[in-house]
């Protein structure tokens, strides 16, 4: 569905050089710190910036050659941009109806009511949460095949976040082979939603794994300095010096559970994984 091969974009000292693939029917998460290159990747996929090299193919077509019809197959949420604040929901309905051949007005209105959004209030007067909800509702209301969501849950409370994630699950269930590419700071959202995760750091993809594998096979091993010296390091991806000794990240949890029954081996949540991958040494 989406294939990125060595996408290169340079901004002064920063260079993005990444590759990734999104398969039909999959929810793919993109994690990374601020400034790691997530938004730049999203912008390159959407043709908002000109790339310095590489290929970005969406639905088998170079995104720079995308027509209006091709763009109708996308639903987009950007964290730092949205509808003009001088419009209200009532205003944007005819705009969306005319931009998308398949805009489902009834569905859109139903969701607007479900999330309690005011129809005649200017968007600039919306709360952060209300703006975020409106963006996601608009993105899922026109039978798109791929959702590209950059931080869609930012500024939302737990309940609103759950409601939005539910909306995304409903979107996936409504039709086969739909896909989502999503980035988020809240790793819990990604753990529960995504089939695959990519981790980006300093403009490079440093990890790509199925979420199931990540949650079952990845672990953080906590050992003293003497235990560390004797540890078999062939499946250790990163290690980090701690006050008690060392933390080690592995993708072979079973192996260490079996061979080092005395060691503290904890399943790695996405947050820990990010910290170990970025802060740890190879």
């Amino acid at each position: 569905m989406l294939k990125i091969e060595h996408l290169v974009k340079r901004y002064g000292d920063f260079t993005l050089d990444c590759s990734m693939e999104i398969k039909p029917g999959c929810i793919t998460g993109l994690v990374g710190q601020n400034g790691a290159g997530k938004s730049t990747t999203f912008k390159a996929i959407l043709g908002l910036i000109h790339r310095d090299g590489g290929k970005v193919e969406l639905f088998g077509k170079d995104v720079e050659k995308f027509s209006v019809k091709d763009k109708q197959k996308l639903g987009v949420v950007l964290s730092d941009s949205g509808f003009s604040g001088y419009l209200d929901i009532h205003d944007i309905i005819p705009v969306l109806t005319n931009l998308y051949d398949t805009f489902d007005r009834d569905f859109f209105m139903k969701q607007v009511q479900r999330f309690g959004l005011p129809i005649n209030k200017k968007i600039k007067e919306f709360s952060t949460g209300m703006k975020a909800k409106l963006k996601v509702i608009a993105a899922v209301s026109h039978q798109s095949e791929l959702l590209i969501l950059d931080e869609p849950t930012v500024g939302l409370d737990v309940i609103a976040r759950d409601e939005l994630l539910e909306l995304l699950r409903e979107y996936m269930e409504a039709k086969e082979k739909r896909s989502i590419l999503i980035s988020s700071h809240i790793s819990g959202d990604l753990e529960s939603l995504c089939d695959e995760l990519y981790m980006i750091h300093d403009g490079k993809m440093i990890l790509h794994e199925d979420t199931d594998v990540l949650l079952s096979d990845y672990a953080v091993i906590k050992v003293s300095s003497s235990q560390y010296a004797e540890l078999d390091k062939q499946y250790i991806l990163r290690h980090k010096k701690e006050s008690f000794g060392y933390s080690c990240l592995t993708n072979q949890r079973g192996y260490y559970l079996e061979n080092y029954p005395g060691a503290v081996i904890e399943k790695a949540a996405v947050d820990e994984l990010i910290t170990m991958m970025i802060r740890g040494d190879v």
């Binding site: 912008k43 959407l46 043709g47 908002l48 910036i49 000109h50 027509s67 209006v68 019809k69 763009k71 109708q72 996308l74 987009v76 950007l78 730092d80 941009s81 949205g82 509808f83 003009s84 604040g85 001088y86 419009l87 205003d91 944007i92 005819p94 705009v95 969306l96 109806t97 005319n98 931009l99 998308y100 200017k122 963006k135 590209i148």
Partner: protein
Amino acid sequence: MKGLLIKDMKLMLNQKRFFVTIGFIAVMMAAVVKDTSFIISYMTVLGAMFTISTISYDEFDNGNAFLFSLPVTRARYVLEKYGFGVIIGISCWLFSVLVAAAIGEMRKIMPVRDTLLIAVEVLPVILILLAVIIPFQLKFGAEKGRIVSVAAIGAVVVVFIFTEKAAEILNIDLELAALIDHAAEWNWGMIAAAAMALALVLLLLSAKISIRIMEKKEF
């Protein structure tokens, strides 16, 4: 493109008070001043220039990034801005011509024919103004664009004045001056048609430049 036009119409309707106010001022001025035709250029400029305001609205809060992720190409966006400027400009022009002609006739200070003559002169000037300002606005953004376009118009005026003065001093009969001298012999309709044609050519050329400017932009 229809979606974009609707968006800009909605943005404009949100400024209803502004348009009602300038409409009211136009009518009041027509009722007081001697030259009722003045309101034609006043209203048409304000109307046509609203397309510049919509460019600022689009840019506000990084809105362009989202706008261009919608099914909108950069070329269509540009064409919509010209289309919107022309539609609103001509609507305001029609309204002001009606008001100026009616009040001019009612107060018996300006025959309808004179009002119409001026009205026909105003239209190409407004289109040329759009042709000059839109590319600057797209290239430099809301704040800088305004300054640069005012400077550009000023520069054109200064160049004209200097050329005229220089020609006077050097006693050169400029082709342009000769053209204007002979203009009186021309058919008035032909001049109007030529001015309109020139304005449309400039508008097309300007749109082409604007498309190139937008294609290069990053959001």
